[in-house]
Symmetry: C2
Subunit: 156 residues, 2 copies
């Protein structure tokens, strides 16, 4: 679905993701759509995004298959998340949790699921354990790139 684009630097899914959704207005637009605010005017107002930049971001998200437009009355459209768009919830919940801890004095909103407040944490589906950032090691699988950077030959 999503286009693959040329990425500078290390081949990496973080970089590939950020090519698609790596700016503030895109992520804030996705936040509003996840919250259920689907109309352009709502998204513009609630994000504070300049309308022209927001329109450009939504056009890209549409082209990349992250949102889709549905007509709710003649020639009036709403934005919905595709499966790829919905799957970005994990990025948004991670930003909410991080921001609550580090970027604001007091949370201004929370997410609820199954009748209680969501406390989003990252765990490993393989072992069920929470993730300790000090225990992470990156393993590169990209030809020509090791953990520390490009191999000399690839870089020549």
């Amino acid at each position: 679905m999503v286009r693959s684009a040329k990425i500078p630097g290390r081949p990496c899914s973080v970089a590939a993701s950020l090519q698609l959704v790596g700016d503030r207005w895109s992520l804030l637009a996705l936040r509003e759509i996840l919250f259920g605010n689907r109309r352009f005017s709502q998204i513009a107002r609630n994000t504070g995004a300049p309308r022209d930049r927001l329109a450009a971001r939504l056009k890209n998200l549409l082209a990349d298959g992250i949102v889709e437009r549905r007509e709710y009355q003649a020639a009036r459209f709403e934005y919905h998340l595709t499966d790829a768009g919905k799957d970005l919830y994990s990025v948004l919940t991670a930003f909410i949790a991080w921001g609550d801890r580090w970027a604001v004095d007091q949370p201004s909103l929370f997410l609820e699921h199954y009748g209680h407040r969501l406390e989003a944490v990252t765990t490993c589906a393989g072992c069920g354990q929470p993730v300790d950032p000090d225990a992470l090691h990156m393993v590169s699988q990209a030809p020509g790139w090791s953990l520390s950077g490009p191999d000399k030959e690839a870089n020549a």
Copy 2:
């Protein structure tokens, strides 16, 4: 630690987080530092970031307490993650997982912890259940803002 900044639109920890780390070069720099590549020249090479923009981003991350500099020999510095910076692992693992599924043909790297491949998923620490984006409901706690947007009075 991190400065609080004026945020347009809805008061929200996503927006507050993105004020601090909501651009591609900042997040890619944090990725490299998390991977263990701590020197400016490594970070520039491995992210592909223009050096002047990278320097500006690192300066902000330093001022905001997300990275810190440590001298490793006279007048030579390395970047390390502070506790706030380490805590962004959840954003980076979410981008890796999303990008692996939606943005690349084939993953170019993976993270390992405790000797096996990390499969990062978002779960709720309260109930231990994985998060279903369709089951999420936002609850606003910001005065003057409801789920759908600003109250009329606050908006007048």
